[in-house]
């Protein structure tokens, strides 16, 4: 059973490394975690521990050579061993077979250390954070298959799947108990396992994370199951984090002019059942900005290499609730008057409070505004709500001193933070969008004046 062992991922943006020293010879028998070679990257010099057990039949690297992650460095015969190696059972038979490089692990355990008795097959030693080493496993690295045979916890029933599917799942290192079956009654088929594996790769949060330490050794802990809500947020924010090259620009706008408008339309708004807040006014201006800068109201379709420009302006409002973050969507913001928007906004807020939002009301946003204003935050770096490409963060709207014609004056100033997907929007365009918005806040003349105003 010849098995190739490949150079593991070395860290963010590290595409190659120089081999300093090869620590094994052909014919040697190696065990999991035993160092194979010393390599030097632009960040550090490290030893590469083996992820497989067996006798080395071929070495594919030499000192002085440059290698890239994923390159085969040694080939071992897994069925062959000698006393030296078998003094310890490979902790990772799964990895030994699939030979996908595990993340660089902690220094090799002493060969004589026996595996823990009675434990279900344990994952290979976790990649312990080594403060002195610059090498880390980036969150975006596709997770290697679980380094050990996933075994159900003691006492669990076999998964709702045929034995061949369970075996396949183990072979690719997927814990079948975490797979959601799509078959009738939730039965798991091989496609479900594959889909789960793909999802794991796409969302580093869910898998591929090194095993956690046993915290009980430090003190008491309590475990809380993640709500579906939390799991969804975890997945979507992780997608953004891993997929979107994000840039954030900061600016501040003088919102004094809002005051006059608010006073003028306050009654009309309240007759329509709404409250005219700075937030509503800001939303109206953002709607106008999105018409002016359509690439902010878009989605990147990488598969077809196209930009999808939305002809509608639906703005999501990230709202903090005691259940967590919810994002109701206000539709056709560009077409509505501020009085209409104030009423819409009021309706939505009430339904958020009553936990009565429909799924429909939380879908279809083309841009999002996230406000931390009331929580005393100034600037921050909001995460784009994928598949949107930009988000506006609204911070404190407070009286701040500033010079106006060499005179120190106090103005209400809103802290604005604009995050966007750099694949779609260049920094300068981001700056233009923000400047446009700041100017509009200074002179909100273009706000639609409602017909019924009086």
């Amino acid at each position: 059973m010849p098995t190739d062992f490949r150079l593991p991922e070395l860290g963010e943006n590290i595409t190659e490394a120089d081999v300093v020293l090869v620590l094994v010879r052909e014919g040697d028998t190696i065990a999991v975690d035993q160092p194979i070679a010393t390599i030097e990257t632009e960040k550090a010099t490290v030893d590469v521990p083996s992820g497989v057990t067996g006798r080395i039949t071929q070495i594919h690297i030499a000192a002085g050579q440059t290698v890239s992650p994923g390159a085969v460095i040694v080939t071992v015969d897994a069925a062959i061993g000698a006393e030296a190696a078998v003094s310890k059972l490979p902790a990772a038979p799964a990895a030994a077979v699939t030979a996908t490089p595990p993340p660089l692990a902690s220094p090799p355990a002493p060969a004589a250390e026996p595996s823990p008795p009675l434990a279900a097959p344990t994952p290979a030693p976790a990649a312990k954070p080594e403060p002195t080493e610059a090498v880390t496993v980036p969150a975006s690295t596709p997770p290697a298959p679980a380094p050990a045979t996933p075994a159900p916890p003691e006492g669990t029933a076999a998964a709702f799947a045929a034995p061949s599917v369970r075996t396949f799942s183990r072979e690719i290192g997927v814990d079948i108990h975490a797979v959601q079956g799509s078959g009738p009654g939730g039965r798991i088929d091989i496609e479900d396992v594959k889909r789960h594996a793909r999802e794991l790769r796409a969302t580093p949060v869910a898998g591929g994370i090194p095993p956690l330490p046993d915290f009980s050794q430090f003190g008491e802990v309590e475990r809380q199951p993640l709500s579906r809500f939390r799991r969804t947020i975890a997945r979507s924010t992780a997608t953004t984090w891993s997929q979107i090259p994000l840039v954030t620009l900061f600016s501040t706008a003088d919102s004094s002019a809002f005051e006059a408008i608010r006073r003028r339309y306050r009654d009309a708004a309240s007759r329509a059942g709404g409250t005219l807040t700075d937030g509503v006014l800001l939303m109206k201006l953002v709607g106008a900005a999105l018409k002016e800068f359509p690439q902010f109201n878009a989605t990147l379709d990488l598969q077809r290499e196209e930009l999808i420009l939305k002809q509608y302006v639906h703005i999501g409002l990230a709202v903090d609730t005691d259940r967590g973050l919810v994002v109701p969507v206000l539709r056709d913001v560009d077409k509505k008057t501020i009085v209409d928007l104030a009423a819409d906004f009021r309706g939505i807020s009430d339904r958020v409070k009553a936990n009565a939002l429909t799924l429909e009301e939380m879908r279809g946003a083309s841009f999002t505004i996230s406000s931390l204003e009331t929580l005393g935050v100034s600037h921050f770096t909001p995460l784009v709500n994928w598949p949107e490409v930009a988000i506006l963060g609204v911070g404190s709207n407070a009286d701040l001193p500033s010079y106006e014609r060499e005179e120190l004056r106090v103005h209400k100033r809103i802290a604005l933070s604009l995050s966007f997907d750099h694949r779609v929007i260049d920094g300068a365009d981001g700056a233009r969008f923000l400047r446009w918005l700041v100017n509009a806040i200074h002179e909100p003349a273009m706000l639609d004046i409602p017909e019924a105003a009086s």
Binding site: M1, P2, T57, P90, T149, R170
Partner: protein, 474 residues
């Protein structure tokens, strides 16, 4: 790929666990030595367990059937039993199979070593054969030393009249009366053999029911029939003492209200359980851990606390069944080869080869209740099975234990003629994650007993053509 220095694997014990592990490991390219005291592989199962007992039960069923045939207008004279010939036939069955295993060992390139093995250290087994000593060094070892009959001290009598299952399978004679201590499957199977051959059989069981662990609704038809064949079945009764007197055995029984606690029997069979074979193996030379009952602790790969040593079969825990040992042997061999194998069957079938046979796989109703697992049951009584009636029978029951919501079949229990053979379909259904709908919509041959599985499925939806149980489900 070079194949010098393949992994050296030593397998201790050549029962269904050991030989399966050895053959599979050899097929995976390892250098395998299979060690057993016996000159041929086979272990308890082939020499003194499953195989000889099933051969004798086959003969017993034939005798019982000839008696029943009178009701169908076919009269046989009482059979004349030639014990020597019967013993010889049983032996030929055993020989044929164990010689076959011997040949298979050679064909799989497994080195078979006869002798008693003992661990000297975590990498060496010392094998003693008639004074000769061979040290086997291994990279990995698999312990498959099985189990032996357990006889409580109070019943340990140095008399050939008190037998364990091994002695009983030798058929020394057909005693006029036979006391069987223990109402488990071995006691009931061997009791059926002796009863058919002509012994008056008394079964004494300490707990409140026969076959502890099996669901009561399955035991009931079996118990009913056994009561009609056996002299007595005494539940909640203990055999406190045995003594030999004038060539017979006097047993003192203890129970809440027993009329005549002292009873004499021509022979006694003690079948109260089996103990794992972990003593005198030199396990103390390793870091292997053994529990209070003597079973070796293993993980999902069947690896012991000593990383180079695995344990499978009876010695590694319940259920003590040949097919479980066999499957574990495969898992251990693959784990050693570095494959991601674990032991995780959804169900291990258990079959009691009495008449009627009683069999189950997966979750039992009792277990579901005990563990608070939500379940639904669908029962199809065999009184409505055409096939059963054609065999002159009305007893039997097929039941499905179903997961509410998903319709997944979690367990199947069957009592009836040939229930054991039906375990094939039942086990596959459980292992494949079959839903009741699937069973219900699969065409089954008519008239067969397997139809009862389909009918139990249909009945879950209230649609069985042959049995009306409750209002149909929409």
């Amino acid at each position: 790929m070079t194949v010098d220095q393949p992994l050296r694997v030593a397998v201790l014990g050549a029962g269904p666990g050991g030989y399966a592990a050895a053959f599979h490991a050899a097929d995976l390219g390892m250098n395998v030595t299979l060690i057993d005291e016996s000159p041929l592989p086979g272990g308890v199962c082939l020499f003194r367990g499953c195989i000889p007992s099933k051969a004798l039960l086959h003969a017993a069923h034939l005798i019982e059937e000839t008696r029943e045939a009178a009701a169908w207008g076919i009269n046989f004279a009482e059979p004349e039993i030639d014990l020597t010939a019967l013993r010889g036939w049983k032996q030929r069955v055993v020989d044929r199979l164990t010689r076959g295993l011997g040949a298979l060992s050679r064909q799989h390139s497994v080195r078979y070593l006869q002798g008693r093995g003992h661990f000297e250290d975590p990498n060496t087994i010392r094998v003693r054969t008639d004074g000769e000593v061979t040290d086997i060094n291994f990279d990995y070892a698999i312990i498959a030393t099985g189990s032996v009959p357990a006889i409580p001290a109070a019943l340990r009598l140095n008399s050939p009249l008190v037998m364990d299952s091994t002695a009983a399978l030798d058929l020394p004679d057909v005693p006029g009366s036979l006391l069987i201590v223990g109402g488990g499957y071995i006691g009931l199977e061997l009791g059926s053999v002796y009863s058919a051959l002509g012994s008056r059989v008394t079964v004494v069981e300490m707990t409140g029911g026969l076959l502890p662990g099996a669901d009561r609704d399955l035991v009931e038809p079996l118990e009913k029939r056994l009561r009609s064949q056996f002299e007595a079945i005494l539940l909640n009764t203990r055999v406190a003492e045995l003594a030999e007197q004038d060539g017979r055995i006097r047993a003192r029984l203890s129970a809440a209200d027993i009329a005549d606690p002292e009873r004499d029997f021509d022979r006694v069979l003690v079948a109260v359980g089996r103990a794992p074979n972990t003593r005198n193996l030199g396990l103390e030379q390793t870091s292997i851990e053994v529990d209070s009952r003597g079973f070796i602790h293993v993980d999902h790969m069947r690896r012991t606390a000593e990383p180079t040593i695995f344990a499978i079969g009876d010695v590694a825990g319940e259920p003590m069944l040949a097919h479980k040992a066999n499957h574990e042997g495969r898992v251990a061999a693959e784990a050693i080869a570095g494959q991601p194998a674990i032991f995780d069957p959804a169900g291990i079938p258990a079959v009691v080869f009495t008449d009627p046979e009683l069999a189950w796989c997966g979750l039992t109703e009792g277990q579901a209740r005990e563990r608070g697992i939500p379940f639904e049951v669908s029962r199809f009584p065999w009184a409505a099975s055409g096939r059963n009636i054609t065999m002159g029978r009305t007893d039997g029951l097929t039941k499905l234990i179903i997961e509410p919501g998903t319709e997944r079949i979690l367990g199947i229990g069957i009592v009836g003629v040939g229930a054991g053979e039906l375990m094939g379909e039942a086990t596959l259904a459980i292992e494949m994650g079959t839903r009741v709908t699937d069973l219900h919509l699969t065409v089954h041959a008519h008239p067969t007993l397997a139809e009862t599985l389909m009918e139990a499925g249909s009945l879950y939806f209230g649609h069985s053509p042959h049995y009306i149980a409750r209002a149909p489900r929409p």
